[in-house]
Assembly symmetry: C2
Homo-oligomer: 301 residues x 2
């Protein structure tokens, strides 16, 4: 399972029971939190996400609607007796803010907090199963998006064929990696004779708050699912530009350029009560678009 | 109208759709906010309190469940184009926290923010209609309660009688203040012959987070309505003491000692889903008790 659960889909001013930005990424057994607007801990409870399973939190930038829920979430994790380390990937100044708030409240957390500073094209997490990178987007203050990539899974061995070709068991790991096998007599057993391709790794890009910039599409090209903000409808491109935000059409154009399979749009301005037009306008340009609705999980295709 | 609307009645860990502490005090045309836990701006919307009318915010102490909603509320006020000055009465360090958060986000508020530091027995606001004082309570970190007192209204003039006694119009203001009138011939017109007493000023005390301490009752003696925390039921006095909180019985004892007309209890621990026992236990000691329920307005008697 690789999916995105929306906790908050609104821009800065909460409205119409829409909340500031927060998303939970589920990747098999892992849960990641991306951004943490005010009320995220309540939204986690509301949508029955177990906060104890969150070990990595990614904060795109230091506008409050993307992190004002973090001090409360951290404090609550402490009150619940968490002892797992918590990793926070964020702009540099966040550590100072959190530390000041812990200090004035006399709070000693029962778990370790690790801060990691975001960078342009930085690899934040890299293990055998996935990588998470940050990449620059174009907002009024320093802001980064995140790209989560499942690693391409190893090839599947067709055991009957491998035995028929007399490939020794000890060589199976190399087969999974795509290597050919050479017998003692020098005969080459082509990898594809004895293995089949596995599912390709899926990927998800979160483009945070940004104005339209085609370089983002290039950066995340071929991503399976793309989240792009659409603060405004298409008739307000000047306002979007001035405020370093995007319109529906611009998000859909990024999705088209990035050749993604699916576009998810969110960060709706509180000037809009109804969201139908967002979906209609974006879908007109990029058909496989979904509104990011709170409490809904969108599977990465 | 002098009343208290509860926005959040829970202790630190939000649970069962109960929110961290926040209360709105309505005193005629004035609205004050006391404490501002995470999500307060959403609760203000939910209960249709117009945030633009809030000009004074009081923060009892710097545990996050009493102020983590403040940066978001201030930022949203700015986004909504507020231009009225906003006064914040809080422990000294709050200004540094808010300023740091505004700085990192590059936010220039369109209104002036004034910070006032709380003190023991400090008069925070004093005008012709009411006073607001802070007084020390007894929590793990520095913490203050707030006492809001309507000023005793002037006496009401019985116009027919005043005319019959030939009191000149120019003297009516002194009549309202309770003065007698002496005629030119030296005859004394007793104030009570020509005026009637007005409603006595009402008062409300918010005792924040505190362990049981009888000095609080002495400090707010005779207050019309008293809010006192009851984090725990009466069977956990040791836990309450260790954590600088109070039980139902302790809150009710403070109400009895303070000779208040009405007790409001809140700050319920998230270990309790149902609140019936809180009301039963406190009422057994102090009958005129109400649970502080979110969205409900309690009139000061």
């Amino acid at each position: 399972m690789f999916g995105v659960t929306i906790l908050g889909n609104n821009s800065a001013l909460p409205a119409y029971d829409r909340h500031p930005t927060a998303q939970v990424i589920t990747l098999n057994e892992q849960i990641f939190l991306i951004d943490c607007g005010e009320g995220t801990q309540m939204q986690l409870s509301r949508f029955k996400v177990r906060r104890g399973r969150i070990n990595h939190i990614f904060i795109s930038h230091l506008h409050g609607d993307h992190y004002f829920g973090l001090p409360g979430l951290i404090t609550s994790m402490g009150l619940m007796g968490r002892d797992n380390e918590l990793h926070i990937y964020a702009p540099a100044k966040l550590e100072e803010i959190i530390q000041l708030q812990l200090d004035v409240s006399g709070t000693a957390l029962p778990f370790r907090l690790h801060f990691h500073i975001l960078g342009d094209d930085a690899i934040l997490v890299d293990n055998t199963k996935y990588t998470i990178e940050s990449f620059r987007v174009f907002h009024r203050i320093d802001c980064w998006g995140f790209l989560i990539k499942e690693k391409k899974k190893p090839r599947r061995i067709d055991k009957d064929k491998a035995i028929a070709h007399e490939v020794p068991l000890a060589y199976y790991e190399r087969l999974k990696n795509g290597d050919d096998y050479e017998t003692r007599s020098g005969e080459v057993v082509k990898n594809e004779w004895v293995t089949t391709p596995n599912t390709p790794g899926k990927s998800y890009a979160y483009c945070a708050d940004t104005k339209f910039d085609a370089s983002i599409a290039a950066r995340v090209k071929g991503v399976s699912m793309l989240y792009h903000e659409t603060t405004y409808l298409k008739n307000l491109p000047e306002r979007a530009f001035e405020r370093f935000h995007s319109t529906t059409e611009q998000a859909a154009e990024i999705a088209t350029l990035a050749q993604t399979q699916k576009l998810l749009i969110g960060h709706f301005s509180s000037k809009y009560e109804v969201l139908d037009e967002f979906l209609a306008e974006a879908s007109a340009v990029f058909p496989n678009t979904d509104l990011a609705l709170e409490g809904v999980t969108y599977l990465v295709p």
